[in-house]
Symmetry: C2
C-alpha cells in the first residue's frame, strides 16, 4: 500500500445550490488532476434571503462535512456565504485554506480595468450586502463601481436557456442602463456563479472591448495559486468529482449538468443531512 | 358608538410572499367594500422547497396572527400552503372558513373546458405535488391534464416585466409544447399566483379560443360565494387593506405594487415575527 500524499486529498467546493458548479467547471479546467467534492445545500437554498448568522451557521455545518472528508482546501462558491462566512470558516478550521468567490473576482476586475470604471451584476442579496463594491474599493479606492441586481438572469440560467433569445433580451434589460452613459465602464464583473451560463448573451449586450471578468475562472486561478504556494498541487493521476446535495438528486443532476457542462446522474448525487 | 358587525371583520389573505397580491387584487375588484389584511411570509419564502410538515407549521403560525386580528375568513393565496395546509388550518381554526387557491382554480378549469383537455402551468413544487392534477381529476375523472412547470415566468413577473418581449418569449417557451399536438387543450389553468402578471403574453402564446382560467379571479369568486352563504358580506363602507410581511418592507412595497396594481409604500408594510 502506498501512503496517501497530502496533495492527493480532495478540494471541497461548497454552494447553496447548483450555481457553484460553474466554479467547479473552471476548477476542473484549471486543475484536471485534482479530486473534488462538491456540496450543494439544496434543501436550504436560497441563502440570499436568510440572516448573516444563519448563513454562517449553515456554512460551518457544511464545512464539518468537508472536514470529515479531510479536504486540503475549501472553496466557498456561493456569493452570500463568501460575503459573510469566510472569516468564521477560517477561524474555526485553521489552518485549512478557505477561498471565496468575491475577493478573486474583485482583484481580477481591478486588474482588468484601465479606466477604473467597473460594472458589477449580481443577485439582489449580494448587491444589498455591498461585498463586491467593498472588495473593489479596498483594492482600488478611486474606482467607480456601478452595481445592478440581475435576478432574472439567474432564473434564465437555471432553466438552461443561457444561449437563446430570452437570455439576450434579459442581458440587454440589465446591461443597457449600466453601459448607457458617456463614460461607460470598461469592465464587467459577473458577480454571481450563474452568470457564466449566459456569457455569450452578456458579451453581445456590452460595448465591444469591454472586459468581462468571470469570478468562476478567477477563483479557480486563486485556488491553484494558493495550492501551489502550499505545495499541495496534485502532480498527476486522473481527477474526479463526487457530488453531494441536501435535497433533490434528480433536479441537481438535471440542472447541474447544464452548469457543469458534463453529465451528472441522479444516482451519482449523494443526499446528506448537514 | 355603533356595535361592530361580524360582517365588518376583515378577510385575511396569506401568502409566502408577494404573489398572493394578485389574489388580493381580484378580491378587491370583486368585493370593494371589504376590509383585508394581507400577510406575506417573506422572511421564510420560498415555501416550495420546504417539507410539507414545515409548511403546515408556518401556515398555522400565520393563521394565529389572523386569529388575533379576528378575521372572518382566511384565504390561503399560496399554492404550496394551500396544497398541504388547508385541512390542518380548517381543523385548528374551525369554524373559520378557510379557502385555498387550488380548488377554485380546478373547478373553474373543469367548467370552462368543453373537451376535457386541460393544460396547467405552475411552479416546480406545485407540479411535483400534483395538487392541481388531483383536484381536476376528482371533479372530472375523464379529464386529460397536461402540466408544465414554468419557473421563469415567476422571475419575469417578480421583475415587473410581465408585459414585454421577454414575457412573450418565455410564455412561448413553456406553452408551445403544451399546445403543439393535434388535439390541444382547450383550457389553460394559471396555477401560480404570479402568472396573472403575464396574462397578455400568455394569451398571445396559446391558440385563439383557448379558455384561460386565472385562479386569482376564481378564488375571489369562491370567497364571495362562501361569505354570501354565511351572510358575512359587508354591505357598504369603504374597503381597505393592511399589509404585513415578515421581512423586507422595501422590496415588498416595490414588487408588490406591480402585483397589486396599486401603490404600496414601505411605511405601510408592518414587519412582524410569526
Amino acid at each position: 500500500m502506498t501512503q496517501q500524499l497530502p496533495a492527493d486529498a480532495p478540494i471541497g467546493v461548497f454552494d447553496s445550490g447548483v450555481g457553484g458548479l460553474t466554479v467547479l467547471r473552471a476548477l476542473l479546467d484549471q486543475m484536471p488532476h485534482e479530486r473534488f467534492i462538491y456540496l450543494g445545500d439544496t434543501a436550504r437554498l436560497p441563502y440570499g434571503t436568510k440572516s448573516a448568522a444563519t448563513v454562517v451557521r449553515y456554512a460551518l455545518q457544511a464545512a464539518e462535512h468537508f472536514r470529515r472528508e479531510t479536504v486540503k482546501c475549501l472553496v466557498v462558491a456561493c456569493n452570500t456565504a463568501a460575503s459573510v462566512g469566510l472569516d468564521p470558516l477560517r477561524e474555526r478550521f485553521a489552518p485549512l485554506p478557505v477561498i471565496g468567490v468575491i475577493e478573486p473576482g474583485a482583484q481580477a476586475a481591478c486588474s482588468a480595468s484601465a479606466s477604473g470604471r467597473i460594472a458589477v451584476i449580481a443577485t439582489e442579496r449580494t448587491v444589498r450586502e455591498g461585498a463586491y463594491q467593498a472588495s473593489i474599493l479596498r483594492l482600488r479606492p478611486q474606482a467607480q463601481v456601478s452595481v445592478r441586481a440581475a435576478p432574472l438572469l439567474v432564473a434564465v440560467a437555471e432553466e438552461g436557456l443561457g444561449t437563446g433569445a430570452i437570455a439576450q433580451l434579459a442581458a440587454h434589460h440589465y446591461l443597457d442602463g449600466l453601459f448607457h452613459g458617456a463614460s461607460p465602464p470598461d469592465t464587467l464583473l459577473l458577480g454571481c456563479t450563474h452568470f457564466p451560463m449566459l456569457a455569450g448573451a452578456i458579451r453581445a449586450a456590452v460595448p465591444q472591448g469591454t472586459g468581462i471578468v468571470d469570478s468562476a475562472v478567477t477563483t479557480a486561478r486563486a485556488v491553484e495559486k494558493e495550492l501551489t504556494r502550499l505545495r499541495l498541487v496534485r502532480q498527476g493521476g486522473a481527477g474526479d468529482v463526487r457530488f453531494f446535495a441536501t435535497d433533490g438528486a434528480e433536479r441537481f443532476a438535471r440542472i447541474g449538468s447544464h452548469f457543469l457542462e458534463r453529465p451528472i446522474t441522479p444516482a451519482g448525487v449523494g443526499i446528506i443531512d448537514l
